[in-house]
């Protein structure tokens, strides 16, 4: 058991190093452009470019450059933006993290609960009306771009119906820290949560439904029914429990990806200053160190989430515990 955990963590570290190399190569070793000029930003003064070149060791061999970059990012943490003069990148990212975390965590609770409910209900009513309705809505949810859903939500809640009783409570776009006011934090995030989770409710509902229906073909479900368990118990304890494992794996990956910045679209639409929006703004001004730091932060989070999920799976699925 301990060997399994250690081996998984070791693999995680290897993957992280690999990712940092790939990211570094994308930004620093793509042909056709001078990385110093790119880091310095658009229309930078020649002196700035020279300073950048020296600061990042760009006149030295490529592995030294990699070392310098990694030191700036993880050891000294003094990576600075040249576009937004002197802005320290690591603290900026750290400050943005709670926003993203609030958004994703809340949405995750919503989509796991409703996704599971959707999948179980649809499977229980397979090919009947509730199933058809739920799967139709899920199909739509999966087909709509998140930011578009967000825009439509904003259109209704911020503009068209904002002055009616239904949505007059909706605060203007933006984030309120939890420490400042839990109630306003909650209100500000209600629609971002719903928007972000909508897609995943559809995805997870469909996935769980398929999983449960496939599980019903298994011999052990026949055993459970033959021994006289009620239909509800067979569905919840036997079929759902087995079918939920791939959903949990998926959840870990999606959670990691979203916290790592894939929530960018939702953040942009709702004006939440999370990691994603930070990246988006850096993109607009081509603030290269910022983008690179964000990408690395994001992928590390994904790798970490994957490792946690793998270990979690060993806990919930005894079959994986062998060797």
């Amino acid at each position: 058991m301990l060997a399994v955990i250690l081996s998984r963590l070791a693999r995680m570290v290897v993957v992280m190093v690999g990712i940092s190399v790939i990211t570094f190569l994308i930004f620093f070793a793509t042909p056709g452009a001078d990385p110093a000029a790119r880091i310095a930003g658009r229309n930078a003064a020649p002196e700035t470019v020279t300073a950048v070149r020296h600061d990042f060791g760009l006149d030295r061999p490529i592995w030294v450059q990699y070392g310098v970059m990694m030191r700036k990012m993880f050891v000294t943490g003094d990576l600075t933006s040249f576009v937004n003069r002197g802005q320290k990148i690591v603290p900026t990212l750290t400050a943005a993290a709670p926003v993203t975390l609030s958004l994703v965590a809340g949405a995750a609770v919503l989509w796991m609960a409703l996704g599971a409910a959707t999948g179980i209900i649809a499977a229980a009513f397979k090919d009947r009306l509730p199933d058809k309705i739920l799967m139709g809505v899920s199909m739509m949810a999966v087909a709509m771009p998140v930011f578009w859903v967000g825009e439509m939500v904003n259109l209704v809640t911020q503009s068209r119906l904002h002055d009616t009783w239904a949505f007059s409570w909706v605060p203007p776009l933006g984030y309120v820290p939890l420490s400042e006011s839990p109630a306003r934090w909650f209100l500000a995030l209600v629609f971002p949560w719903i928007t972000l989770s909508f897609l995943y409710i559809g995805l997870y509902g469909r996935m769980l439904r398929t999983g449960i229906i496939e599980t019903y073909q298994e011999d052990y479900i026949r055993t459970a029914r033959a021994k006289g368990l009620t239909a509800r118990r067979v569905l919840l304890k036997h079929a759902t429990r087995a079918a939920i494992i791939p959903v949990v794996i998926m959840f870990g990956m999606d959670f990691g990806v979203l916290v790592g910045g894939a929530a960018v679209l939702t953040e942009v639409v709702f004006g939440l200053n999370g990691v994603g929006r930070l990246t988006y703004q850096a993109l607009k001004v081509l603030d290269l160190p910022m983008i690179m730091a964000a990408v690395l932060y994001a992928s590390f989070f994904v790798v970490l989430a994957n490792a946690v999920v793998d270990l979690l799976c060993i806990l919930i699925d005894p079959r994986l515990r062998r060797k």
């Binding site: 081996s7 397979k126 055993t223 033959a226 006289g228 009620t230 087995a242 919930i316």
Partner: protein
């Protein structure tokens, strides 16, 4: 186990206590097909099972026997199945009960069920204990501690060693036989009046099968259960049943006391079925392999099979295997290092002569299939030793030469459907090896394919079809034809007839004997089915845990077995003759040891003593 409640067993010859536990009248089961049409698979089945009685429902695949058992418990999907007729189970009209009443009164309560596949019939992510406790509590709520005690008692009752500790193990930690014991324990949880056993021993090894059958017999007496025993195995029927019901394509063709069904069958189909079943010991006094009787399906009349006319050529051996060792590394841990080794085949040596059949028998995991694959170097893992075909040493050939040499040794697989590429027509599949070995032009290949189709009893026009359009027996004929395309001198038949229905099995065995008689091909016949092996082999080698424990002429091994394992194997076979019931002893469960060994394991030196001419036995 000293006190045993005596329960009056009904006399095998006079079935029927006054009120039957189960009575079925005119049961019809239909499934909705792909296009919404109903397809009836059970046509008006009627039978009764008296209290404490064992009724066997026998038939080949597609006879509707398993569907019947699921219909009784209403376990078929209601959306795609239709069940009509009358089923009375312990006073309840099963077909008119609601789903909730089924749960409350019937399933697991008055009737319990065990299934064919113990490996997949237990929920993989709950411990055995949880599943047992669930079965106990769902009918009689009780405190957790009490349920646990009851679960341990049940596991002890089905003779699972070390029950208290094993209660918290997951199913994957149990062997197939042990899992089937757990299934039985679960079925006993509510002391049902009827146990429906759907092919409960089919997936098990022969020695384990014997143990499970004895256990079921014993429990039936203790609990006074009636049993509906569904099987295709006439040996098991003879061993277990008071009464036998024979089904053919959804119809009952014969129903009577077991002794009568076996000794004076009325229906032609029953006669045909019984004539096709190889009975262990029936070859006593026969000098050479014997074909199965040819059967007229209309009357069931059997014409005795012809003995094999061609004698093995006992000069120089055709295939000589010396000191064959095949091991697989088990990797694990942090750096995927080797942590252990599977000793699948250990120092196996034998020779086969032209026109001779050597059978390799043993139970699952004994290494017999790996031996077969190692000979043609398809086993993977690390193989050492020597395999000589005539003068050619196969183990030192470079890959290109080996590929060409494979023409001489062909394989007939266990699962013919899986062995045929689903995206190639049969014609393409047959012609391909011929052309690959540049044996002649395409026209000649096609002509040969058509000729071989004819020889294996199939219409050459079927060459245009795809594998999924054939039945199981036909597919095995196709695989035989494909092997014959290359004019091999040795054929390795790896459980080639094991999955086939009894009557089809007899035909395919006869086909193999015909081929041997005509071409003088040598067979390495790998099988767990000793009764078939007895029928067709010249010599027999018995394998146990990767080693040959006994090898010799068929008559010597079968009639005077020397090694204890050989004796146990032969004794465990259920013989299709109710007069020869013998599985009454309560044996302690035997667990096959797995052949995984630490890296530094050195296999013991083995010596063999000669028990008779050409009959060698491992000295233990």
């Amino acid at each position: 186990m000293t006190e045993r409640p005596t329960f009056p067993l009904p006399d095998a010859a006079s079935p029927g206590a006054p009120s039957p536990i189960l009575s079925i009248h005119d049961l019809r089961v239909a499934f909705r097909g792909a296009r919404g049409a109903w397809n009836e698979v059970v046509h008006g089945l009627s039978l009764t099972v008296a209290a404490g009685e064992t009724v066997a429902l026998v038939g080949e695949s597609g006879s509707g026997k398993s569907v019947t058992s699921l219909a009784l418990m209403r376990l078929l999907a209601p959306a795609t199945s239709r069940i009509t007729g009358e089923v009375t189970l312990d006073g309840a009209a099963v077909l008119s009960l609601s789903e909730a009443e089924m749960v409350a009164r019937v399933r697991g309560r008055s009737a319990a069920m065990i299934f064919q596949e113990p490996m997949t019939s237990l929920h993989p992510i709950y411990t055995v204990g949880e599943q047992l406790i669930e079965a106990l509590c769902c009918h009689r709520p009780m405190p957790r501690a009490e349920a646990r005690r009851a679960a341990v008692a049940l596991m002890e009752r089905v003779r699972i060693p070390d029950a208290a500790r094993r209660l918290d193990d997951y199913p994957h930690a149990f062997s197939g036989g042990m899992r089937q014991r757990v299934m039985i324990a679960m079925a006993l949880a509510s002391r049902p009046k009827l146990l429906i056993a759907d092919e409960p021993t089919t997936a098990l090894d022969v020695t384990v099968q014997g143990e499970i059958l004895s256990l079921l017999k014993e429990l039936q007496e203790d609990y006074g259960m009636a049993m509906l025993f569904i099987t295709h195995d006439m040996g098991v029927v003879a061993e277990m049943a008071d009464r036998t019901v024979v089904m053919l394509r959804g119809d009952v063709v014969e129903d009577g006391p077991t002794a009568q069904v076996f000794h004076a069958p009325r229906a032609p189909y029953t006669r045909a079925l019984l004539a096709s079943v190889p009975a262990l010991g029936s070859m006593r006094g026969e000098p050479v392999p014997l074909r199965f009787p040819a059967i007229d399906p209309a009357t069931g009349a059997a014409t005795p099979g012809q003995p094999l006319a061609r004698q093995p050529d006992l000069g120089a051996p055709l295939l000589e295997v010396r000191d064959l060792v095949t091991r697989f590394d088990v990797r694990g841990g942090l750096l995927r290092r080797k942590v252990a080794r599977v000793h699948a085949v250990e120092h196996v040596s034998f020779a086969i002569h032209p026109a001779e059949t050597l059978a390799l028998v043993g139970e699952s995991g004994c290494g017999k299939s790996t031996t077969g694959r190692s000979i043609i170097r398809l086993a993977g893992g690390i193989s050492t030793g020597s395999v000589r075909l005539d003068a050619t040493e196969l183990f030192t050939l470079p890959p290109g030469r080996l590929r060409l040499q494979r023409r001489e040794i062909q394989m007939i697989p266990q699962d013919p459907l899986a062995s045929l590429n689903p995206r190639m027509t049969i014609g393409e599949a047959l012609v391909e090896p011929f052309l690959e070995h540049r044996m002649g032009p395409a026209t000649e290949a096609r002509a040969k394919a058509a000729r071989l189709m004819d020889q294996v009893g199939l219409n050459p026009a079927m060459l245009e079809r795809f594998p999924h359009e054939f039945s199981g027996g036909q597919r095995q004929r196709l695989c035989i034809a494909r092997a014959l395309m290359l004019d091999p001198r040795v054929i390795i038949a790896d459980e080639s007839v094991s999955a086939l229905d009894v009557s089809v099995k007899a035909q395919v065995v006869n086909l193999l004997l015909d081929i041997q008689e005509r071409t003088g091909i040598a067979f390495l016949f790998i099988s767990h089915d000793i009764a078939v092996v007895e029928r067709i082999s010249h010599r027999i080698a018995v394998m146990y845990q990767g080693e040959i424990v006994e090898i010799g002429p068929r008559a010597a091994v079968m009639e005077t077995p020397q090694h204890p394992y050989t004796r146990r194997l032969i004794e465990a076979v259920a013989v299709p003759d109710p007069a020869r019931r013998h599985l009454r002893r309560t044996q302690p469960p035997s667990e096959l040891m797995n052949p995984i060994r630490p890296l530094d394991f050195v296999p013991p030196e083995r010596r063999y003593r000669e028990a008779g001419p050409g009959h060698f036995v491992r000295e233990d």
